[in-house]
Amino acid sequence: METSNKITFSRRNFMRTTALAGGGMLIGFNLFTACKEAVKPPVDIADLNFNDFNAFIKIADNGMVTIFSPNPEIGQGVKTSMPMIIAEELDVPWENVHVAQGVLDTKNYTRQVAGGSQSIRFGWDALRQTGATARQMLVNAAAAKWGVDASECSASEGIITNSKGETLGYGDVVKEAAALEIPENTALKEPRDYKIVGADAINVDMEKIITGKPLYGLDYKVDGMVYASVLRPPAFGQKLSAFDDMGAKAVEGVSDVIRFGEKVAVLANNTWSAMQGKKALKATWSDNSSLENTEDHDKILTEILDGNKFETRREDGNVKKAFAQADKVIERTYESPFLPHNCMEPMNFYADVTDDKIHLVGPIQTPEGTANRVANMLNRDVNDIHLEMTRMGGGFGRRLYGDFVMEAAEISNLAKKPVKVVFSREDDMAAGIYRPAIKYRIAASVKDGKLTGYHLKEAAINSNMYGLIPHFFPAGCIDNYKVSTANHQSKITTGAWRAPYTNFLAFAEQSFFDELARELEQDPVQLRIDLLQNVKGNTDDRIQYSGQRMEDTIKLAAEKGNWGKQEEGVYQGFAAYYSHNTHVAELAEVVMKDNFPVVTKVVVAVDCGIVINPTGAKNQIEGGVIDGIGHAMYGDLAFKNGVPQATNFDEFRLIRMQETPKVETYFVQNTLSPTGLGEPGLPPAGGAIANAIYNAAGQRLLKQPFVKHIKAEVKELVG
């Protein structure tokens, strides 16, 4: 969508102002929802609460601006980029802006969820309009002071100027501005006039991060708090029969051992004692003899693909007919294992459940939903709950699920103490909510040297691709096109993992298109561009991506990465994928080192509309690409009798420095509304490197993790 500079709805109901008792002006505003009747922001900054407003801007009488950032920070940079948008329209120097953690209450905190790369996309209009309206109020106050019409005044860099050249700082008029009526129809800036949006701003928590200040849930501490280490069923599907806590209670520092449901919590006055106490528990588990193995999943998913019990998710034309009339049908099956999230900060949460209130503190991506679940579980009014969010040491989807919050609340409720549940790394990996194992089978029909039909089948553990994915590329590019899905219900818990489904689907499809290009004797980049011409002008509004934007993105990556012009000994691979409203193309370079393919460089082109914070945006892309490569190469979680076979970083391999390529990122320049970047860099990475590895070593990789499947013959081919 082209960025609009016209106000489309009244701001009057979305923001309120007060003059602060200690000087300065406080603006409370809501993203997307109207303010309740008659509520006003507090006159004392110490009384800020987020029940009536979901964000605040304080403009002090010295002109300094504090923005209480409204979205949880998991490392995707929104705590920096969202305030940049407000500051741009407010028109203050970024150096004069301080960003404070949105003090963490939850009710009415619309879109207080980090996930799906949607924070910037949804916040863009509301944040701009709030900043612009506040600026207009300051201008109106200055105009009144001068006795001139507001249209004769302008504001820039925190200074208001009238036609005579007289100036007033924002701080000089905050008191008066706070009392004014909130104006409507305030004009927004044109993107070409942006000063803050589009300029690099370093992470607002930088100083705290590099000096080790308490920031994360694991760092949170209150007097009298005990630490809880929880013993959970070792296998998915097992139940607790009995336990002996003699050994646990003998550990110095351990105070209580509490059973709750199928789990046992060991409470201690320090983390280490709680963990040692848990290790000393002796428990027996009932085995209902249907514990699952990776081999079983493998067989079941293959049976699903071979069978005919599918749900059709999209069908264009007649795939069956196209296949029947084809000169040739190409079919490939792609396979991926379960993956744990492995946030560097293990799951943890603080809970203090008392008769009066429930205080919850920690890293969670879904505060509102989680508070409701805790209220339901404890049969309490949700208004009793005060939930504070801390900075999060990674999320990747894992912190969408509040299982660890529920545990903390339940234990505190039973122990009648403030409790902090801390997962060990082993707990974190073994009690996961994993990326499910999935198999894709893709078939394409070729007739007279042309692609005539395409059929994608998905067989997944527990759940299938979400509703919009069947309308991603190549939907709309091929006349006869079909997406079918089916799943198998497992006891292993699964959920969203950075770029859900597309994190593996993009690899499958982008590898398939590479192979298809060879079959059609076409250049893989040109094949994609040719196909994209077919979607242009398509009026099917279910189609999610833009043919033109994808084409431009592909061309930018091909140009910057010198597609087809590699040096001797360097092998290229290409992939392009649309997800989370952002178009991304990646060109990977691989060299053979000691007869093993090594990814040395990835050139990335991205169309995410207007880039708010280029340094933060590039950081997300660099991280997403390397994360995608790491998990495609090494990520593997198998199950034996329901038990995860990797529980720490000695058994689960994450990518490390020496395995990382250099990532170069380029943005398609336009003035379209911004979209998110936390996820879309990841999906094309696996396909880009698999295609480069094919060019380097002649082997088509169909299964992840690649490191397990790169054949010994590769050595001979190059050796």
Binding site: I74, G75, Q76, G77, D200, I202, N203, D205, M206, E207, I209, I210, T211, G212, K213, Y216, L218, D219, K221, Y227, E252, G253, N270, T271, W272, M275, N342, C343, M344, E345, P346, R391, M392, G393, G394, G395, F396, S424, R425, T615, G616, N619, Q620, E622, G623, V625, I626, D627, G630, N648, F649, D650, L654, I655, R656, M657, Q658, T660, K662, V663
Partner: protein, 153 residues
């Protein structure tokens, strides 16, 4: 419970803890120095890296009993104002995403550069290989270490 006298960031501290308690938890839970992070507990990820008599050491594997009489430096004590050349480089390059592993990365890098002030690219990559960054900010970590080396030499 025995008492151990340890020196952390130049301050003498007496802590009551069982002898096998890893220094990591003594720092975090007993001394409220939470900049040193728990990541894996088995010396695989480097989030808990501190300097023990100037050498980068995994505090999750170091029993408090063996830290007696040694000089311990944590991220909180690396510099007075967050202005160690490595910290300055981290700012200049805008390294962190979630930020959780970065204290360990900085402690590894600062000890490494003290021993090798003019490292090659491959030496930097080797030196930093033991520290995991799950957000994969590796390109920037590498760049920041190189920048700090330039400033320090």
């Amino acid at each position: 419970m025995p008492t151990y006298n340890i020196t952390v960031n130049g301050d003498k501290k007496a802590v009551d803890a069982s002898p096998e308690t890893p220094l990591l938890w003594v720092l975090r839970d007993h001394l409220d120095l939470v900049g040193t992070k728990y990541g894996c507990g088995i010396g695989q990820c480097g989030a808990c890296t501190i300097h023990l008599d100037g050498t980068a050491t995994r505090s999750c594997l170091l029993p408090v009993s063996t830290a007696e009489g040694k000089n311990i430096t944590t991220i909180e004590g690396l510099s007075d104002n967050g202005d160690h050349p490595v910290q300055e480089a981290w700012k200049a390059v805008d390294v962190p995403q979630c930020g959780y592993c970065q204290a360990g990365q900085i402690m590894t890098a600062s000890a490494f550069l003290k021993d090798n002030p003019n490292p090659s690219e491959s030496e930097i990559r080797e030196a930093m290989h033991g520290n995991i960054c799950r957000c994969a900010s590796y390109n920037r970590i590498e760049k920041a270490v190189a920048m700090a080396a330039e400033k320090m030499s």
